[in-house]
């Protein structure tokens, strides 16, 4: 990324630079960012350019003696963009900006969810009351109740249903149709027809329109679809959390030394060149270069590296990393929007902004379905106009087609499957964020696994003990562990942990001395022990030549050799490494059984990386990847046409997780990674990824079936509405048939979704390739049961819908069985 590279350019301000922020309009992608940066950089006197796509802001550091603001706006305009009312601001003030934006977003989303909830509940209440009034044998005269129904239905139609009209209009402007078009057209026709016969009953009668009321159809369709949206909106409320979590990592204050006086100031007030003191246990407030003192810094939150990094004067320190042991002073070199943390925030923002929105399954289906229905309705009207009894009849059947075509369970198909699916996932320790994540999973063909913390445990362990001379392996471990008791270093902790595991009895050590970056010295049972790296051993004059080969071998395997010397004589080597999780190879095999291409991503040297990948059974390796290149690597795979799932745990993985088509975070990792991902695996067991993908696929299958059920009944009834049965049996669509279809499709959709509860995690790669027989039997059993229920309800509906009553009974009986047979067929 250009943004990342040019802020890393060394900054040696010889004279005070001024910083300006320009609000740029019209940027759409990273190419726009590149172009503006290129144009602005060409201006003489500009030392740094940073363009942020997500916040639409260019931050430029320039020499005021050479450049004016007009030159800079001119350069942006020359690139083809507009600058909104040039506002000059200190770059440092922008630090809190994204957080404020996130809050605003969150509040807006909160309002949206509350509104959806209100609208769907009110509509559903109205709809249920209407159904009770219309179908329970209360002995009411419909013509007296109808005006009340009209008022209630009008409120639902234009208050709760307004979203459909707006969205349908937007789609129409772009000459496309989607679910909203279908809902808007279907409910409007149902509502409009009912309103007409309610308001002008005598006119309707004179023209020959049957007194049919479809209010509850329109209201319930709106209610159920809004309810589905509410469920989904509620589930994905916290998508903006990644940036907020990242911002939360930043230190709030910094202890700045100005004119020899130390003072705590808000981190926003730290300027480039300030000297900042960091005490043990504190976070480094901004980026800089260490000038005084030494310490070990835990950079795992940013780099994913599990070992603390030793720092001495001249070394770079990164903001938001944790100071472990020593106190030190550093000179700030990057503040505000330029820090590494701000870069990650920007990468996450860009990755989130650049993702093409997923076209939802329901919209895809509706997009094809709507034009067909409109054409069918028009053809029906035309056909009856020519051959039918009257023009009014032609209009009536065309209206009936539009009413029946709008499936009320359409809105339920996706959310019910997702609710059951995500609930089932949670039982397996998988948190899935929203339906898009699930729908996305069906397209995944590549899985990228971050090495550290994902494939490996993320903390070092003893992998090998090489004892020399008369020392036994246990004795060597016991000695080294005794010396390391006082050590806080993870490599020492690994040795200690191993010794405790083997229940070795430790001897008390005295004269403990830690040598930063090298190892420890201690006196154990009268002997002077040193445990540490090559540098420590060489400094102590220990002869290493005899073990050079073994040490090299250990290093090649990706482990760190620790040399143990007693009184200046080498006694052995203990190899410590971040080891593969036990379940990793099986998880990889299962992922491959699912037909996925598995990649490993790591910053390790290629040889080490390949050794680990081989052990995990992974064939594709992306090695020597810098932390800030991870998202770019994912993007590279995506540009090859792959649909990529990224699995990671660190903060530095966040941009890659956001960039990937499906971000999967390991729950034992950082909050930021979880917030940037679509799926979180709580336990950290890699095999749950397999479960997650298998379950997601199953859930998407259920969504598809749900859509089929939602549309199926209505599609089957379209011929009835078209009046195809009319010449033979006198049957046309009426409210009872419409209500039966609604009830049937809702029941089918919901019961179908509930079937997901029987999902079981695949136990082996073989089970994925060959699903057990029982599962298939259960599948068919369900279909048969639903078909039977459909036959019964369909028969009953047709019986009650029988237009003339007694004298046509035999005819309509046959009619019923014909339609039932149709429903039955369609169900298969």
């Amino acid at each position: 990324m250009t943004t990342a590279t040019d802020t890393r350019a060394p900054t040696t301000p010889t004279q005070p630079l001024e910083i300006i922020q320009l609000d740029v309009e019209g940027m759409t992608c990273a190419s726009c960012v590149n172009r503006i940066e290129r144009f602005v950089r060409k201006v003489d006197g500009v030392s740094q350019v940073n363009v942020n796509l997500a916040t639409e802001r260019a931050t430029i550091a320039y020499d005021p003696g050479l450049v004016t603001r007009a030159d800079l706006t001119g350069a942006v305009e020359a690139a083809g963009y507009d600058v909104r009312q040039p506002v000059a601001a200190e770059a440092t003030a922008s630090g809190s900006d994204p957080a404020a934006q996130v809050d605003a977003h969150e509040a807006a989303r909160e309002r949206e969810v509350a509104e959806l909830r209100r609208k769907s509940f009110v509509s559903l209440g109205v709809g249920v009351a209407m159904m009770a009034l219309m179908y329970l044998p209360l002995g009411l005269d419909m013509r007296l109740v109808a005006p009340a129904l009209l008022i209630a239905a009008t409120i639902v139609q234009f208050w709760a249903g307004s979203v459909f009209y707006r969205a349908a209009w937007t789609a129409a402007v772009h000459r496309s149709t989607n679910m909203n078009t279908l809902v808007a057209v279907g409910t409007s026709v149902a509502y409009g027809y009912s309103a007409f016969v309610t308001l002008w009953p005598s006119l309707a009668e004179a023209w020959g329109f049957p007194y049919h009321l479809y209010y509850e159809t329109a209201v319930i369709i709106i209610a159920l679809i809004l309810m589905g949206r509410w469920l989904e909106a509620r589930a994905k409320k916290q998508t903006a959390g990644a940036i907020k979590a990242l911002m939360g990592l930043q230190a709030r204050t910094a202890r700045v030394i100005r004119d020899g006086v130390e003072a705590d100031v808000p981190v926003e007030q730290v300027v480039v060149g300030d000297l900042v003191r960091v005490r043990p246990g504190e976070k480094v407030p901004v980026d800089g270069v260490l000038t005084e003192g030494r310490s070990a810094l835990d950079e795992s939150m940013l780099t994913g590296e599990s070992l603390p990094v030793e720092k001495e004067p001249g070394d770079e320190v990164i903001g938001a990393t944790l100071n472990r042991t020593g106190s030190f002073v550093f000179r700030a070199t990057k503040v505000g929007a330029d820090t590494a943390l701000a870069q990650i925030v920007r990468l996450v923002e860009e990755a989130q902004g650049s993702k093409a929105p997923l076209q939802r399954l329901a919209d895809q289906v509706a997009g094809v379905f709507v034009p067909i229905v409109l054409v069918v309705a028009a053809l029906t009207a035309a056909g009856w106009f020519v051959f039918g009894p009257s023009p009014v009849f032609a209009v009536t059947v065309a209206i009936a087609v539009l009413i029946i075509a709008c499936p009320c369970a359409l809105g339920l198909a996706t959310p019910t499957a997702i609710m059951v699916g995500t609930g089932k996932a949670a039982e397996h320790g998988i948190l899935i964020r929203g339906g898009e994540a699930l729908e996305q999973t069906r397209r995944i063909d590549t899985v990228v696994l971050d090495k550290t913390g994902t494939l490996t445990r993320g903390r070092p362990e003893v992998t090998r003990v090489v004892a020399l001379g008369g020392t036994s392996e246990e004795e060597l471990l016991r000695l080294a562990a005794s010396a390391e008791v006082g050590s806080e270093h993870p490599l020492g902790s690994a040795i200690l942990a191993r010794a405790r595991e083997l229940r070795l009895e430790l001897t008390d050590a005295t004269e403990f001395e830690a040598v930063p970056g090298r190892g420890v010295h201690a006196t154990v049972a009268g002997s002077r022990l040193s445990v540490g790296n090559r540098a420590l051993a060489e400094a102590g004059g220990v002869e290493l030549a005899p073990v050079a080969e073994v040490a090299d071998e250990i290093a090649r395997d990706g482990a760190t050799p620790m040399f143990v010397a007693v009184d200046g004589t080498l006694r052995g080597i203990i190899a410590v490494a971040d080891t593969l999780k036990a379940e990793s190879p099986q998880a990889v095999a299962e992922l491959e059984a699912l037909g996925l291409e598995v990649w490993m991503l790591t910053g390790d040297h290629a040889l080490t990386a390949e050794a680990i990948a081989r052990r995990a059974g992974i064939g594709h390796v992306l090695a020597e990847v810098q932390p800030d290149e991870k998202a770019a690597k994912v993007r590279e795979l995506q540009s090859q046409g792959k649909v990529v799932a990224m699995v990671g745990d660190g903060i530095n993985d966040a941009p890659a997780l956001a960039q990937s088509d499906l971000g999967v975070a390991i729950g034992t990792g950082t909050d930021v990674a979880m917030a940037a991902s679509d799926i979180t695996l709580i336990g950290g067991d890699l095999r749950t990824i397999v479960t997650a993908i298998a379950l997601s696929r199953k859930t998407v299958g259920v969504i598809k079936q749900g859509l089929f059920w939602a549309f199926g009944y209505n599609v089957v009834l379209i011929p009835v509405a078209m009046g195809l049965l009319y010449p033979f049996f006198g049957i046309l669509l009426n409210p009872v048939i419409a209500a039966a279809a609604m009830a049937m499709s809702s029941v089918s959709v919901v019961t179908n979704a509930l079937r997901l509860r029987s999902f079981r995690a695949p136990e082996s790669p073989d089970q994925i390739l060959h699903p057990p027989l029982m599962e298939r039997v259960r599948e068919y059993g369900y279909l048969v049961a639903i078909a039977l229920v459909a036959v019964v309800i369909g028969g009953a509906a047709l019986y009650f819908a029988n237009p003339a009553g007694s004298d046509e009974m035999p005819m309509s009986d046959r009619g019923a069985s014909t339609v039932v047979a149709r429903v039955d067929q369609a169900d298969r």
Binding site: G80, Y81, H174, R635
Partner: protein
């Protein structure tokens, strides 16, 4: 009909673009008799200035 059938790819950045909208906003360019659609001005101007690199077989869209 459905939107999916009408998507074009921006040759510069690789984003999916609705040709209809791109045409309305004037974000198109002709090259070798083909019409290309862009997500925004930056891509279009870059393309118009020098279209060749985007046809190189090893060109990878930057986003």
């Amino acid at each position: 009909m459905a939107q999916t059938q009408m998507m074009a790819t921006d040759p510069v950045c690789g984003m999916h673009v609705d040709p209809q909208q791109a045409t309305e906003k004037g974000l198109t360019a002709e090259y070798n008799g083909e019409t290309y659609y862009f997500c925004g001005k930056g891509c279009m101007l870059d393309f118009k200035e020098n279209p060749e690199p985007y046809f190189a077989p090893d060109y990878k869209p930057s986003m």
